[in-house]
């Protein structure tokens, strides 16, 4: 049996909570951005592509710092939210936002690959059969993007589970509030007497990742068989 403290259970719960919320929150935006990049021609498309992929190339700490500047009490968005009585910094919401921003490029990339694989003639066929664009989106593009959506969601979920740099900057490392598995491991690893606890959480992290990857592979295979 792996020895775990009550704060470790909190960290596991928070990690799953943050990863799930970040993934679900990003899905509609990721789908919309991938759709725009794949199917729509517009000015500034290249800029959008670069901006979407930027968090992938930046150190997560830099992303976290920018989020802090944006969402902080005196930040551009933070000050507006503050007036409305909403505080994000050093809350679970901030951890979710940080994970969503860092994992977003992975979701969009997978969705885009899925959408680029759709034969444009299928979309044309749907339109000539009487479907308007949003009908085509829901009945052709969305179902055919499912493999990309599953792959992107799994990648993003896994990435969110491991998110550290951006989270510690905007959400801090508050046990039971914002402390996720990586942050808890970091805290344990900082103290030489807690090596066993750090190792236990590492094993939990590996187990969750394995479950996610297995689920992803099973769903991908099921969809491949169906198509």
């Amino acid at each position: 049996m792996i020895p775990l403290a009550s704060t470790d259970y909190d960290a596991i719960r928070l990690s799953v909570q943050v990863a799930t919320a970040a993934t679900l929150l990003s899905l509609p935006f990721g789908f919309a951005v991938a759709y725009l990049i794949t199917f729509v021609t517009f000015r500034g498309k290249l800029l959008l592509e670069v901006l979407v992929n930027l968090p992938l190339t930046l150190p997560p700490v830099v992303v976290g710092y920018f989020l802090l500047l944006l969402l902080g009490r005196h930040g551009w968005l933070g000050s507006l939210l503050n007036e409305a009585g909403i505080r994000l910094i050093f809350t679970l919401k901030a951890a979710i936002i940080a994970s969503a921003v860092v994992g977003f490029p992975l979701l969009v990339r997978s969705l885009r690959i899925g959408m680029e694989g759709i034969d444009p003639h299928l979309i044309n066929a749907s339109r000539t059969l009487g479907a308007c664009w949003h009908d085509t989106l829901l009945t052709v593009i969305l179902p055919l993007s499912l493999p990309g959506l599953v792959a992107g969601s799994s990648l993003m979920f896994a990435r969110s589970l491991g998110e550290f740099g951006a989270t510690i900057i905007v959400a801090g490392n508050i046990p039971g509030v914002t402390q996720t598995i990586p942050l808890a491991i970091y805290e344990y690893a900082s103290s030489p007497s807690s090596e066993t606890m750090a190792f236990s959480l590492c094993l939990v992290s590996v187990a969750i990742s394995l479950v996610v990857l297995f689920l992803h592979e099973m769903m991908a295979k099921k969809m491949a068989r169906r198509n």
Partner: protein
């Protein structure tokens, strides 16, 4: 169906400029690859916006650059059958077929599902996934899906080009059912003159983005005879095969034709015979190796590039033979004259069993 189109569309150095007005239910658009056929039908279907011009179908303006009208594809009621069937891979055959039907207004639904499945022989396929179908079955489902959308016009963009020869001519009767059985006018796009003659009455011939000719499919085949390496293709429906001396004897328009033994599995079929494979004699030859020797009357003559086409009435049937002008002079061929023709038994090629 009455269609008038006057459109322009440019892509880089290529410009499609078409001004035409057609009336009929079986119209063909003929041209080589890159002649602008697919661009034209995409504009008609609303999938591509012209740079300028106007499209009017049965009195309704679908597109007008000057009036600022551009109906969306789903508003046009013009269905399309694509070269690569384009069936939705995530739907069953039944759900593919019903895709357009469900989106069609109830007052436009004149074709019912059961009749369609019966005519196109799709009954046994309905619950299967589309990836398990053969090429011919896929194209039949694609055709059925387009018909069930109850369109006022059906566009067929080279629907046979992805199929092999044997399948191609098996599918043609199903394609013809669009007009014959369901009363839907169609525009058939192809680069094959034989397909054009089997599928259409009137043809618009395009070359390098311009409309060259508007004529009947039969006339176009004759005009193009001299340019074609295979000449004019005679299409013959041969029936009642019997075996004779190791060969196959068929009935054709009150006469008999002998074909090589390779056709022994076909009781009745559609065969092609090139105009180049018919040899003309002024008098009955004494002896000849060709197994078919027929007495014919010259019904007419036509010129095509540097060749002469001779229309021959053989019994109740008509054939076209191709000769050079010198041969026509030497043989003294004129309308109403009698000639003998020789055709080798191996010159016939089976297109489809009937």
């Amino acid at each position: 169906m009455q269609l008038s189109m006057s459109v322009k569309k440019s892509f880089g150095s290529f410009t499609l400029s078409a001004a035409m007005s057609v009336c009929g239910d079986r119209i063909g658009i003929f041209g080589a690859s890159g002649s602008g056929k697919s661009t034209l039908v995409s504009m008609l279907a609303g999938l591509l916006e012209p740079d300028s011009g106007e499209i009017v179908l049965n009195g309704e303006c679908l597109y007008s650059h000057t009036k600022g009208i551009n109906l969306r594809p789903e508003q046009r009621r013009i269905a399309m059958v694509f070269q690569q069937h384009c069936l939705f891979p995530h739907l069953s055959v039944r759900n593919n077929l019903l895709y357009g039907f469900k989106r069609c207004r109830p007052e436009h639904r004149t074709i019912d599902f059961e009749t369609l499945a019966d005519v196109l022989k799709l009954g046994g396929l309905l619950d299967r996934g589309v990836s398990n179908l053969s090429g011919g079955e896929k194209q039949r489902v694609a055709l059925g899906r387009a018909i069930l959308a109850n369109p006022r016009l059906l566009l067929m963009d080279e629907p046979l080009s992805a199929l092999d020869d044997a399948l191609r001519f098996q599918i043609i009767p199903y394609l013809k059912s669009v007009s014959e059985h369901f009363g839907i006018p169609y525009l058939f796009i192809s680069h094959s003159l034989v397909e054009m003659r089997l599928m259409t009455d009137m043809v618009l011939a395009f070359e390098k983005g311009r409309l060259l000719e508007q004529t009947t499919s039969e006339q176009l085949a004759r005009i193009r005879m001299g340019q074609s390496p295979v000449g004019y293709i005679n299409l013959l429906k041969l029936t009642g095969m019997t075996k004779r001396d190791g060969m196959c004897s068929y009935c054709w328009k009150g006469g008999e034709l002998l074909l090589s033994s390779s056709n022994r599995d076909t009781v009745s079929g559609l065969f092609e015979l090139s105009s180049k494979d018919i040899i003309l004699f002024k008098k009955h030859p004494e002896a000849i190796s060709a197994r078919n020797l027929l007495k014919c009357t010259v019904a007419g003559l036509f010129e095509s590039v540097s060749k002469i086409g001779v229309e021959l009435k053989c019994g109740d049937g008509m054939l076209v033979a191709e000769i050079v002008p010198d041969a026509a002079r030497e043989l003294g061929i004129e309308k109403g004259g009698i000639v003998y023709i020789a055709i080798k038994a191996s010159a016939f090629r089976r297109l489809a069993a009937l």
